[in-house]
């Protein structure tokens, strides 16, 4: 991937050789990361891919086994305390106090960040308005719905107006409509100059990021903007429509040029060798040659999910070869 390398001063986060070894498992393995300022940067990866560990190291909660980190120009974990005021962190699990009300939680956070009375008078009501918490002020946080909790958590994480916001799978317990609203507020924050690093395993969320890194088993397998990633994919993507897609899928597993198949309703999404000149025609001939019927076979633009599957599959293949 030929990304233009941003100048150092534009980077909110720069990590080199970041590694975390938990003894029996390497959670993050030799990761290089450049997160530009004023953008939403995504971490895409399945559970256990090292997203949370990585975020925790970046905000100084975990000490890396190896590697160097610079966040907002601060040396982490050495200068982690100085970083606290400049970053907000929204944990994967709701971590505000469930037995306090919404307004008590906000007041507590405001005081923990030692906002002055004057600042509190402006920022708390504006956060309440912005995240639509007005009706919930007297409600205990534990009784809020997933979406409401998320809004409260984001309000709390941004009360001290951080330059950089870490969001660890912020929408895992939120319905699609609230997820949309949540992302709208993230773009509002970015428009105000905040940098956001968000981890997710939802493809639609990853598509919304300015740039993202795909993580798998602690390794960075691809990085770039969603469009760049789609262009850089190591495979061609075909859509095959057929009456009996299951049979075709089973057959195609034996074809050497097919990387993977995935069924979506009555269609198959197939990844084949990128080097093929005419992948759609070659595939159609192969299927028909085996006496199977198909309605349609065409090449399509790769989605982020395809990128993700291709990137993780390529790694699996090279691992299998090594073994």
């Amino acid at each position: 991937m030929n990304l233009p390398q941003p100048a150092h001063s534009d980077l909110a986060i720069r990590a080199r050789g970041l590694t975390k070894d938990f003894g029996n498992v390497i959670a993050v393995n030799n990761l290089d990361l450049d997160v530009p300022s004023g953008r939403i940067y995504g971490f895409l990866g399945p559970n256990g891919s090292g997203k949370s560990t990585c975020i925790r190291m970046l905000c100084g909660l975990l000490t890396p086994t190896a590697g160097e980190i610079s966040v907002l120009g601060l040396d982490i974990p050495k200068q982690a305390e100085a970083l606290r005021r400049k970053v907000g962190y929204m944990t994967q699990k709701f971590s505000l106090f469930e037995d306090l009300t919404v307004s008590e939680n906000l007041a507590f956070i405001a005081n923990i960040y030692t906002l002055s009375r004057a600042e509190q008078k402006i920022r708390i009501p504006s956060a309440i308005e912005r995240f639509e918490l007005g009706r919930l002020l007297k409600q205990r946080a534990g009784t809020l719905s997933g979406g409401q909790k998320q809004r409260l958590a984001l309000a709390a994480a941004t009360l001290h107006e951080p330059e950089l916001l870490f969001l660890d799978e912020p929408t895992s317990a939120v319905d699609p409509e609230n997820r949309r609203a949540f992302w709208e507020s993230l773009f509002d924050l970015v428009a105000e100059g905040t940098t956001i690093l968000v981890s997710t395993h939802y493809m639609d969320e990853a598509e919304r990021c300015h740039a993202l890194a795909i993580l798998d088993l602690g390794l960075l397998v691809a990085a770039g903007s969603p469009a760049e990633l789609a262009d850089g994919i190591e495979a061609s993507v075909l859509v095959v429509e057929a009456e009996e897609p299951r049979k075709i899928a089973r057959f195609m597993e034996s074809l050497p040029f097919v990387h993977s198949t995935a069924q979506i309703g009555n269609t198959l999404r197939v990844m084949v060798d990128r080097e093929m000149d005419n992948p759609a025609d070659d595939t159609r001939q192969a299927i028909e040659g085996a006496g199977l019927r198909l309605d349609n076979c065409r090449k399509v633009r790769p989605s982020l999910e395809d990128v993700f599957v291709a990137a993780t599959q390529a790694r699996k293949a090279s691992r299998d070869q090594a073994a």
Binding site: C59, L61, P77, Y89, S95, N111, I112, T114
Partner: protein
């Protein structure tokens, strides 16, 4: 100033959460009240309605009068009539009575000879409080019908002739209650935040470890002093525990002990991963504290090894302090060694807690 704002914010939060956690709130008041009533019940029992038997060989107006007088004190309930002294002893051995009244056949003549004891009170002395109560009624003045001197009663104590002061229990109980609640509350308060994920949020904020620790224990200092007050009020009101030393000294000593236990709770909280573990570790400390501190058994009677273990427990030193102040009316300078040891314990425990609690997850 900023530090104060953060500490104050956490203290307010803790108190709010506490007032909503009905179980813990109930324990703050419930543990001292129930323990005091439980332990104190023994004290209360002997003072009233002790089961008694009478062997009246005199069978005279005067003997019936003295039995009635004794019954009217309500300290004893006459449940058995015995035919001889042996039967009284037998009833006592069986546990049916704790007090036996023996009136000899020549009771009326003995009354006229004040140098001789007119009758005998037999006491089951296993419970020291029973002894005290019976000695009390034996000495209370009752006018003999023959002269203005009270009848002399000889008290014979069975099973435990060496009296131990019953008021030992209540001051000691303060120690048991504070060890149990203070250690447990702090340990659980922090471990619960870790379990619920609150701690992950708190450690990403500018709060310093020391501030967090201090703010976590401050509310419990007030609660501890509240419990001390509760036990003292109940102890004085229900069980007539004398407070011979200065009240302010009682609170000073308790404050030291409260802080020692809170510090211990903090250390536990840095080790325990779950609330259940925190509870187990608290009881790991509580049991030897109750058994070895001198609360249950006299310290001097214990084997040397047990005494060494006991010296490490803050409760042992608190027992000496609180009994010294409450029962013997000692002043704090006289007890400076024990205070010094408690202060040392606090210092060591707090240092360990702050060192162990780093603002990291690993």
């Amino acid at each position: 100033m900023k530090s104060l704002q953060r500490i104050f914010a956490i203290v307010v939060k803790e108190l709010r959460q506490l007032s909503r956690d009905r179980l813990t709130f109930g324990m703050i008041v419930g543990i001292p009240a129930i323990q005091l009533l439980m332990f104190g019940f023994a004290i209360n029992m002997d003072v009233r309605h002790l089961s008694a038997g009478v062997a009246d060989f005199s069978n005279s107006a005067a003997s019936r009068q003295i039995v009635m007088d004794l019954a009217q004190t309500q300290v004893i309930d006459i449940n058995y009539q015995a035919s001889d002294a042996e039967e009284l002893e037998s009833l006592m051995r069986q546990g049916k009575i704790v007090v036996g009244i023996y009136i000899p056949p020549d009771y009326e003549r003995r009354l006229q000879q004040p140098e001789r004891s007119a009758m005998q009170l037999l006491v089951d002395g296993s419970d020291t409080v029973v002894q005290g109560a019976v000695v009390g009624i034996a000495n209370s003045s009752r006018i003999s019908p023959y002269n203005d001197r009270p009848p002399v009663m000889e008290v014979r104590t069975y099973y435990n002739p060496e009296r131990r002061s019953p008021v030992n229990t209540v001051p000691g109980l303060i120690g048991v209650i504070l060890t149990m609640t203070m250690t447990l509350f702090t340990a659980v308060a922090i471990v619960r935040e870790r379990e619920r994920g609150n701690l992950e949020l708190l450690i990403t904020t500018p709060v310093r470890s020391g501030e967090l620790m201090l703010a976590k224990i401050l509310p419990y200092v007030f609660i501890g002093l509240l419990q001390v007050t509760l036990v003292l009020v109940l102890g004085v009101w229900l069980f007539d525990v004398p407070i011979r030393g200065a009240l302010i000294d009682v609170y000073r000593v308790c404050l030291m002990f409260i802080i020692a236990n809170l510090a211990l709770g903090l250390v536990i909280s840095t080790v325990a991963q779950t609330q259940f573990q925190a509870m187990q570790m608290t009881f790991f400390f509580l049991l030897p504290s109750i058994l070895l501190s001198g609360f249950m058994f006299p310290f001097d009677g214990m084997p040397k090894a047990a005494q060494w273990i006991a010296e490490v427990l803050p409760m042992t030193h608190f027992m000496r302090l609180i009994r010294g102040v409450v029962l013997r009316g000692a002043s704090l300078p006289e007890l400076s060694t024990e205070l010094g040891i408690l202060a040392g314990f606090i210092l060591i425990a707090m240092t360990i807690a702050i060192l162990r609690f780093n603002k990291r997850l690993d």
